[in-house]
Amino acid sequence: MDFELLKNAIADLEDEKAYELVNEVMADGGTQVEAALKACQEGMDIVGKRFEAQEYFVADLIFAGEIMSKAMEILKPALAAKRGDQVSSKMILCTVEGDLHDIGKNIVKSILEATGFEVLDLGIDVPADVIVKTAKEQGIKIIALSGVLTLAIDSMKKTVDAFAAAGMRDSVKIIIGGAPVTEDICRHVGADAWAINPQDTAQICRKWASGE
């Protein structure tokens, strides 16, 4: 199989083509599933770059997220068989306390999962103490906080401060994203990184997971 075709189908948002190709991969039980996954991830990287270059827009990311989720669903049985007991990097993702929005969070989630993360989605309106408790109990070191409303900034700051109060600040990495987030806000909140492009979020989290 020419995996360039799959990569390009994902990158060009050709959903039917992408599903046809991943179904082809699974025809023999998915012996080449890792190569298929890599092609999908490379396709999503291209989507991210096109979003950054303003060729693609948020609506395209949503479409890409759906294509990727469906493709992963088709490949899942073979992936699970290949990975066996191999542990994926686990991370927390949520919308912070006071904010009920989840569109951006869900886009990022599908991209993070496609990247190979096991994403523990805590949902929306999540208080700081719940995030800290979950991270502590499950030994999770990467935290991604999302928010759309201006009040999310205060909640993000409270979350960062809560990790500090728990003596965990130096052992976790926190990334923030969403409409009100800027570099100034990141500094104000005390997060380690910020991103508005979901691919950037995935890249930063990948670096952290590999110890960079």
Partner: protein, 455 residues
């Protein structure tokens, strides 16, 4: 300056901005919603929703402190008084007591044909019951009969007190009454917001494009009617039909141009042909190609913006339209006092020249934590003193002329759920002619109510 003189100055300034004249100074529109005032007053937001007059003293104090040309206290858009008695899924309260609208869907992807056949009937029969569980016999047996009447009763009680408080504040601090027009939605934004949801419409624009375009055409007569000036044909161009523009910056330019824009442009041109003016909030960051399309809109449209760079807004749209918004609210919490004074002056240097500009923030704060009060006062005081024009009274901007616009004569709005007086009288032949205005006013009010509940 005494209160009456202040009121007149404010009204005149605003009038000049909207009538192609340089005003004496830049008008300041700074408003703090009920949730922020509640935080300031240290009153539980939850209690304030049900009795905004708990905030009267705090609202007065803020009006005194913050030099705005509009009442600093602003009623809340979403309230549990309305949503909770109706068991709404589209307006919910967060754990911190703030009402929001989560991403909601009440129209399935395979329901486009039904919507196209009769959009209003689809809203009444399918969307409203899906959005408001208290209005369904299945989920609210017995009580569904009076749920809406009960909600309207509660809302009236709260609103009466709040309006009385606002009128008192207006009188005390010299704020001119806000001229109210109709509230409407761009057809595609309306279908997006709660019917198909944000992610639903993003997929529809690619996968069900023809159906979506047909749906926009089908609902046009209804939305046209809803957005008409409340006192038409007596049109006051300062009482504008308002729109919140949600989808454009999230779409490809091609999808904006082919799908989103055409019905809205038609709507604005139809209103312009009647002498009306519209206002629109341009959510998020609009790219240059999108801004070029906005110059096709009728002259004098009032555009408030969020994240689009101010130089680009002013350069592209400042001559043809009235601009507002854009000044980053986040500056209040990230800047020192001197920094924010400097930033305000830099901002005014860009936005002021040529008039047709009203100062306001890019977004509305939602909690007191979004606002550093000292900085907010500094911003307003800077606009007050630095935003003075040396050429007040000079003509400016493109002049609006009704004759420049051709009305498209959309089909009359009809629906199996919208009864005409003639249909009513067919059922009740003894109904006299003098019942007609009352009956028609009620049908129109229900149309506006159902529409508002689906936005």
């Amino acid at each position: 300056m005494d209160t009456q003189a202040l009121l007149q100055e404010r009204a005149q300034n605003r009038h000049d901005v909207f009538n192609n004249r340089i005003p004496k100074r830049v008008p300041i529109e700074v408003r703090l919603p009920m949730s922020v005032v509640a935080d300031y007053a240290k009153v539980d937001r939850r209690a304030a929703y049900w009795d905004p007059t708990l905030l009267k003293n705090a609202a007065e104090e803020l009006c005194r402190l913050i030099p705005s040309d509009t009442c600093v206290y602003s009623p809340t858009v979403y309230t549990p008084v309305s949503s909770q008695p109706l068991d709404a899924i589209n307006r919910m309260m967060s754990s911190t007591g703030l009402m929001q609208h989560p991403n909601t869907m009440c129209m399935e992807p395979d329901e486009y044909d039904e919507f196209i056949e009769d959009p209003y009937a689809f809203i009444v029969d399918k969307c409203i019951p899906r959005l408001y569980k208290a209005l369904c016999p299945d989920t609210n047996p017995g009580r569904f009969v009076f749920a809406l009447a009960e909600e309207q009763h509660m809302r009236r009680l709260v609103s009466m007190k709040e309006m009385a408080m606002l009128q008192e504040l207006n009188k005390k601090f010299g704020y001119p009454e806000t001229k109210r027009g109709s509230a409407c939605r761009v057809p595609m934004d309306w279908i997006a917001d709660q019917l198909r949801s944000f992610d639903g419409i993003c997929l529809d624009v690619r996968k069900r494009r023809d159906k979506l375009i047909a749906a926009l055409e089908a609902c046009y007569p209804m939305l046209y009617k809803i957005g008409l000036h409340p006192n038409y044909p007596n049109v006051d161009r300062e009482a504008m039909t308002s729109f919140q523009l949600h989808m454009p910056s999230y779409l490809r330019v091609k999808d904006f141009a082919e799908v989103w824009f055409p019905t809205w442009k038609r709507q604005l041109e139809d209103y312009a042909a009647l002498g009306m003016r519209c206002s629109a909030f341009m959510e998020h960051n609009w790219s240059e190609p999108l801004l070029d399309y906005m110059n096709e809109l009728p002259a004098g449209t009032y555009l408030t913006f969020e994240a689009t760079p101010p130089k680009l807004m002013k350069e592209k749209l400042g001559k043809r339209h009235v601009l507002g918004g854009g000044f980053p609210l986040a500056n209040l919490i990230t800047c020192t006092k001197q920094q924010i004074i400097d930033k305000t002056k830099e901002w005014l240097d860009i936005m002021m020249p040529g008039g047709q500009y009203i100062f306001s923030f890019d977004k509305t704060p939602l909690s007191l934590a979004d606002v550093n009060l000292e900085n907010l006062i500094a911003v307003c005081e800077t606009v007050l003193t630095y935003g003075v024009y040396s050429n007040a009274g000079e003509p400016t901007g493109e002049v609006f002329r009704k004759e420049d616009y051709k009305h498209s004569n959309p089909p009359e709005f009809t629906s199996k759920r919208y009864m005409t007086f003639e249909q009513f009288r067919e059922k009740y032949p003894q109904t006299p002619d003098n019942a007609k205005p009352i009956f028609e006013s009620a049908e129109k009010a229900m149309l506006a109510l159902m529409f508002g509940m689906s936005c």
